[in-house]
Symmetry: C3
């Protein structure tokens, strides 16, 4: 299994969530983050105003997936989160050794 | 070493924390998250009311552990966080290549 | 590639950010967390007052780096976040299988 983490623009979350559901993803975790990339935040626009502080608000999205779905899920997020403007985000993939569903105690792909 | 991450119901945090301490875990990190699983949040109850939005509030718990403790720590969280109702959570385990204690500069298992 | 995650004292964030920029790091993600280590939070001081609750506020810093930079980045964070007092934090390193820049679709080291 893999954990796909994406840092995206907050206003792209709904579109990404819908695209992941359309792909067949059954769950995800969202949290607040902020950050910057190569422009150090200086020239990013957020909510219509140029953002002058370094850390620009972002959404962190995490999706646990089966190995076979990992690169497709990255592609779905990539295509949906992409506005073409700087600060669109990063997506990364980390290996996961086990996943458990707490309610049932199921392990592995059954737990996704 | 491993990083065990758990997304659990907020009101289960105290019980899980106490169970981890009883097991001998010496530290943990907690943050806010929200999410949904196979029911897409629709039928989950939170604070006594049916939650109608998609993203249900959850707590993220992270525990860095020695390899030998990883599966026991997963079991401790699983047993303590389990209410038997949908939305009880997910636990996953990721490999960790190094851990450092900032105050002392110790690396590896010494740093846990 | 690697993901270096650090849980540090909030007032050390600016110094760590500047040190990482001086090292040449081009981006980072920050979020709020809380936690405790071996002292279980009891004897930690936060904002001049002894903190009596278990979970002490911390900042989570995440930096995606090329393999060759991982240990230097850990060292930069370690040296800058270190105050010598308890609760200075933890840093850990996790393997990353792929990174994507959302705006361009670049993968791997090109995406950092
Ligand atoms: N090296 C990094 N490590 C961790 N997080 C990063 C890194 N680079 C960027 N991020 C996170 O991703 C978010 C978006 O980054 P961003 O899209 O600006 O990347 P970029 O490489 O500068 O690409 P672009 O040139 O399209 O702006 C940042 O706000 C930050 O949260
Ligand atoms: N595939 C996933 N990827 C990332 N996070 C997930 C995933 N599935 C669930 N989560 C996180 O775990 C939380 C709890 O999920 P949940 O317990 O509802 O899982 P489930 O598989 O639907 O199990 P159940 O049938 O018992 O409800 C969600 O709110 C979300 O934050
Ligand atoms: N085992 C752990 N797993 C996950 N997070 C941890 C762990 N131990 C500590 N942390 C996180 O790191 C933060 C700082 O921990 P802390 O510096 O107190 O570690 P420590 O091992 O007790 O070192 P010290 O003796 O210097 O205080 C905690 O608030 C918590 O968020
Ligand atoms: Mg950028
Ligand atoms: Mg569910
Ligand atoms: Mg401590």
């Amino acid at each position: 299994m893999k954990l796909v983490t994406a840092i995206i623009k907050p206003h792209q979350l709904d579109a990404v969530k819908e695209a992941l559901e359309a792909y067949g993803i059954s769950g995800m975790t969202v949290s607040e983050a902020s950050g910057y990339g190569r422009q150090r935040g200086h020239s990013e626009v957020y909510r219509g105003a140029e953002y002058t502080v370094d850390f620009v608000p972002k959404v962190r999205l995490e999706v646990l997936v089966d190995d076979i779905d990992a690169s497709s899920v990255v592609d779905v997020i990539l295509k949906t989160a992409q506005t073409g403007r700087i600060g669109d985000g990063k997506i990364w993939t980390v290996p996961v050794e086990d996943v458990v569903r707490v309610r049932t105690g199921e392990h592995g792909a059954e737990a996704l």
